[in-house]
Symmetry: C2
Subunit: 336 residues, 2 copies
DNA sequence: CGGCGTATTGGAAGCGCTCTCATCCTATTG
DNA sequence: CAATAGGATGAGAGCGCTTCCAATACGCCG
């Protein structure tokens, strides 16, 4: 159990270097390789990870940083899916994942991560426009991939979806089915997603030459803010509501119903994310699907590229979104 | 940046050993310590984690293994909360967390974990009665803490709640409010939670001398299985339903409503978990609260104890649950 | 004033592995 | 048959740190 390469070498009658080559796939004569492999299996030998890391300079471990409000982590499947996607891609390359959540301040977390010097690289979720943790990682020498935020300076590697385009598309869809007083309940202000979706909404409204005036209310990505926002928009005479995400849309749906109005007949409703429940709402919700799991996988792969070809400059990946049209925005025809 | 202890030693005019002592809190004269600390901060020195691990035999990293169906991971906040709790407790001791999800087979995952020899210990979720991954970890020399399962042989350390007692309590509550045809929709058979809750239900029914006959139907912890199960139980003339968890209860609620029956008037309903939405259902759901986050913290702390006092034998922690009575099981009085 | 205990410090031996270089051996070619 | 190329292997120098042990210096007691 507590055996070393030297023990193995002695057992198989070759040098330590040769055993190491067998383990790491170096050039070894076929006969020797088989003999050593046999001993390897027989003894159940496991190399010492710390020693290999020290000697080789690579650890096979990457960090994943999700420094977010615990509340969000609990209730939004987004993060589980992202994690799952990363985990999938990492395990393909037998890479382990070290996870940091938001238990500490961003400064402390940054310190911990940098102190844990054995990471080969790090993936960090970046939702806010300003983020010292993200800045710190980017500044450090640690290869870093951002998820969810394109930095303006274009010097960072990232994986993201085009929130502006997607929001534009869904707003345009509302215009296309004949709505004129289209309101928007934003996501949490200060996050990239909320600001970009708002920008997309505004762009589409402007192109359609529709008034925006009091038709934008702030939400926070949660259900209650959707209900409150919807009530406010109804007071403004809205005939359509584009909510910052699906949870917000769900809240809005309840509020609209509470007023005795029908969706989509009186008010059309759209969300963002296409979470599982969106299709099961009554009526099923029109929304934007973003492959969250795929974002996670892509982030991991991008990091691998960074590690394999350093000096290649930043890599940027924009994943496509898909407009999912359901009954909640059914056009002239009344849907069920 | 790429500096070593020797560089630091040279800079501060002491030996490498002394610098090491300063970093690790060894005995050093106060003046020397201050001088070295100053250099340390000034240079932004970070020790090489691999080297310290190799030399000291401890890594400050523990593994967390949640080998579960991705579907569950996404939709059940249980896992996020557990993770959060562990992360909280680990970060208190500046310990990092390496995470494994269920991307691979249990055998492969086990191999990866054992191969990643730098872990100080591991926490593993154990929900199934039989689990090769759990067995493998327990057999290995890696200090291991189980979450959610008391092994019969009592040789393992674990953190768990008493599902049997809790299920007994909630069933007895249904008896106490005068119900006689009390049905149970189980969780996923083969999991400890489902079997234990079933056992608790049966125990309470037996003590109350109530018939069970066709009143147990199998579910799988998901909403649809709750709906299906409820319909079946209604056919059996059930006047109360104890669902395997809150999601199942939610499904049951919809099905009962669909039949034109009222909760709790016609059918009383109870769940398990007390997830956030349970209190927001209409009517609010009677359920069992288990401190999931606390379970996570407790698991991490148990592992710390194991690491600090090896040879102390297994540690077992049973956390309390709390019966949360709401309108869905309101007694004689009809609730809203 | 000599001796001894104690607080500090330095020296140096690893921890177990990777990887470059040098060596050796066999096969090939003219 | 000699010369040489090339593949397989071994030797050994680290990687950067912890930690045991010895050495030193200082203060105090008798």
């Amino acid at each position: 159990m507590a055996q070393t390469l030297d023990d193995l070498a002695a057992l198989s009658g070759v040098s330590r270097a040769t055993v190491s080559r067998v383990i790491n796939g170096g050039p070894v004569a076929e006969g020797t390789r088989r003999r050593v492999l046999d001993i390897l299996h027989r003894t159940g030998y496991r190399p010492n990870a710390a020693a290999r890391t020290l000697a080789s300079g690579r650890s096979g471990v990457v960090g994943v940083v999700m420094h977010i409000d615990p509340h969000l982590l609990f209730q939004d499947p987004y993060f589980s899916q992202l994690l799952q996607g990363m985990s999938d891609a990492l395990s393909e390359r037998a890479t382990a994942m070290m996870l940091w959540l938001g238990n500490r301040s961003k400064e402390e977390t940054l310190d911990h991560i940098l102190w844990m010097s054995l990471l080969d690289g790090v993936i960090v979720t970046a939702y806010r426009l300003e983020d010292p943790l993200v800045d710190g990682l980017l500044t450090s020498s640690l290869p870093t991939v951002l998820v969810g935020h394109r930095r303006a300076d274009r010097s960072a590697s990232y994986v993201d979806v085009d929130n502006v385009d997607a929001a534009d598309a869904i707003t345009s869809h509302l215009v296309a089915i004949g709505r004129r007083r289209i309101g928007h309940i934003t996501g949490l202000r200060g996050t990239v997603a909320a600001e970009d979706r708002l920008a997309g909404y505004l762009r589409a409204m402007k192109r359609a030459a529709l008034p925006v005036d009091e038709l934008v209310v702030d939400g926070d990505f949660n259900q209650p803010s959707g209900a409150a926002g919807a009530l406010s928009l109804l007071d403004q005479g809205a005939d359509a509501v584009f909510a910052g995400n699906d949870a917000t849309a769900q809240g809005a749906l309840e509020a609209i119903r509470g007023r005795g109005l029908r969706v989509p007949d009186d008010v059309a409703l759209a969300g963002f994310d296409d979470l599982e429940f969106a299709a099961r709402l009554d009526p099923p919700l029109t929304t934007v699907r973003q492959g969250v799991r795929q974002q996670g996988m892509e982030a991991a792969r991008t990091l691998f590229q960074l590690l394999e070809e350093p000096g290649e400059g930043p890599r940027r990946v924009i994943l496509p979104t898909e407009l999912v049209i359901r009954q909640s925005t059914a056009g002239g025809v009344v849907g069920g």
